[in-house]
């Protein structure tokens, strides 16, 4: 377990390195962290950065929620039913490695330029990650365990509640942890297209159109905070929902 103190220390060291680099480079495209942070505060309270942040947050939140909602039960079924799992395996094998982000233009054409297309592309990426991890985890639930719980009177519903559900939570959380980075990266790409809301748009606008580099970096920091925040949420959820994992 990494402790809070260590994280703060690492953050400080990274900021110092950034500062040193900025002083060495001495160019507008690499402003110092101090300047970026003052701009960040200003943009949040006086500008529109908070609004962009919320737009991005909503897209990630909605897509993650939907991905968990659809992928976990599907993964459970694939992992527990040998027949269905076998049937689906070749399809997943073909579809899983496709870089879904390249489908973005197609998805924009089908779902339009609103929030839906952006939520959908992140959903698709997370869906496959969670599906595969939950499936593999569900397949490791030993049949003996199921039998012994059935012998205590459990039918399908109780098995789901007391065995399958708790057994799949670690898989869901691992999948989320692994795909948060990808999700935020895809969010950035998705927000470059046909939108005027979101951190991706904000970063691109300030960096490539307005040439306001400190503001662009403020956007980058905001996006990092978004990713980091989601990471913290997953960590906290794991401590809360899976306390037994720390004794493995």
């Amino acid at each position: 377990m990494i402790r809070g103190k260590q994280i703060v220390l690492a953050l400080l060291i990274l900021l110092v390195l950034w500062q040193i680099l900025a002083m060495l480079v001495q160019m507008p495209i690499l402003p110092s962290p101090y300047l970026v942070l003052t701009v960040l505060v200003k943009e949040v309270f006086q500008g529109k950065l908070a609004g962009h942040f919320l737009a991005s947050f909503w897209r990630v939140f909605a897509s993650t929620f939907l991905a968990i909602l659809f992928a976990s039960p599907a993964g459970l079924i694939l992992g527990q039913s040998k027949k269905i799992g076998k049937m689906a395996a070749p399809f997943i094998y073909l579809l899983y490695p496709i870089p879904k982000v390249v489908l973005l233009p197609v998805i924009l054409l089908f779902l339009g330029i609103g929030d839906l297309s952006k939520i959908f592309i992140i959903f698709v990426i997370l869906f496959f990650q969670i599906l595969v991890l939950v499936r593999d985890q569900a397949a490791t639930i030993r049949p003996e365990l199921i039998q012994s719980v059935r012998s205590l009177g459990a039918g399908r519903r109780a098995l789901f509640r007391y065995v399958y559900l708790p057994a799949s939570i670690p898989g869901i959380l691992t999948a989320l942890r692994q795909s948060i980075g990808t999700a935020v990266a895809v969010l950035y790409v998705a927000e470059l297209f046909a939108t005027q809301k979101g951190l991706g748009y904000y970063i691109y606008l300030n960096g490539s159109t307005l040439f306001n580099y400190p503001a662009m970096y403020a956007g980058v920091v905001a996006m990092s905070v978004l990713g980091l925040g989601l990471y913290f949420v997953v960590d906290a959820a794991e401590r809360k929902l899976c306390p037994w994992l720390s004794f493995k």
């Binding site: 039998q147 012998s151 009177g153 007391y162 708790p166 306390p243 037994w244």
Partner: protein, 253 residues
């Protein structure tokens, strides 16, 4: 209590494990199913538990044909079947939690069952698990896991107690103390006990009657009576040695 009539059972591949097999168990008896691997002893236990079903013939418990796991039957499997994500208390309470989940419908829980969680505390205390009740199975010793599984089974007030190679992965002192514990509980709770084992010594200690199974197909019940197992310190008697020797010879045939 248990009446196996004309039982024929085979897995999809291969010979029948049981063919026209008959077997009777009276209430309150302690039986051991003994035999080499692949003889069908675990299969018979799972048939009693309602987790497998005969191809022909029937398994009756208290006169009722077994079509699904019976709420009054307790089963302990080889590696205890504990849920790694649940504490000792939650594991031990699982049977009652499931009954609560369905309500006393006669199918998942006995009709009119009013179980309260104080039963769980009682058994945890009786089995010396109160100190570890908030721990997870990964933090326990093998003996503690086995006792948790026993607590879970006794908390549902079974009248029939089935165990599949319950002590095979434990060290000798733990195994012997748990064998004594099970015998104590058997007498005290008026249970009908059926234990599957491949160990001759265990069969002699736990089995008032021993059902010896051979390479399939099993057609006839070969039964060894071991009524002397009730005497104190049976393990140290000559009678115990004789039973073991007798079983050893019979298993060779």
């Amino acid at each position: 209590m248990i009446n196996v009539q004309n039982l024929t059972f085979s897995y999809q591949t291969g010979l029948p494990v049981f063919q026209q097999f008959n077997w009777l168990v009276e209430k309150g008896e302690s039986w051991v199913l003994l035999g080499p691997s692949g003889c069908g002893k675990s299969t018979l236990l799972y048939l009693l538990a309602g987790l497998r079903f005969p191809n022909e013939g029937q398994v009756l418990i208290n006169g009722n044909m077994i079509k699904r796991p019976r709420p009054e039957t307790g089963l302990i499997i080889q590696d205890y079947g504990l849920m790694p994500w649940a504490t000792v208390f939650q594991n031990a309470a699982l049977g009652l939690t499931i009954r609560d989940f369905y309500g006393p419908d006669g199918k998942h829980a006995p009709l009119g069952a009013v179980d309260d969680l104080s039963q769980v505390e009682f058994w945890l205390e009786r089995l010396g698990l109160l100190d570890v009740k908030h721990k997870y199975p990964d933090q326990l010793s093998g003996g503690q896991r086995q006792r948790t599984a026993i607590a879970r089974t006794l908390a549902i007030h079974p009248d029939l107690f089935l165990m599949d190679e319950p002590f095979s992965s434990l060290d000798a002192p733990t195994r012997e103390s748990l064998q004594q514990l099970v015998l104590e509980l058997w007498r005290e709770q008026n249970l009908t006990l059926v234990t599957v084992t491949h160990s001759i010594e265990e069969a002699a200690i736990l089995g008032q009657k021993i059902l010896l199974l051979k390479q399939p197909p099993n057609t006839e019940a070969q039964i060894i009576h071991n009524s002397q197992m009730n005497q104190p310190l049976f393990r140290q008697t000559a009678a115990y040695q004789e039973v073991c020797q007798d079983l050893r010879e019979r298993m060779l045939i």
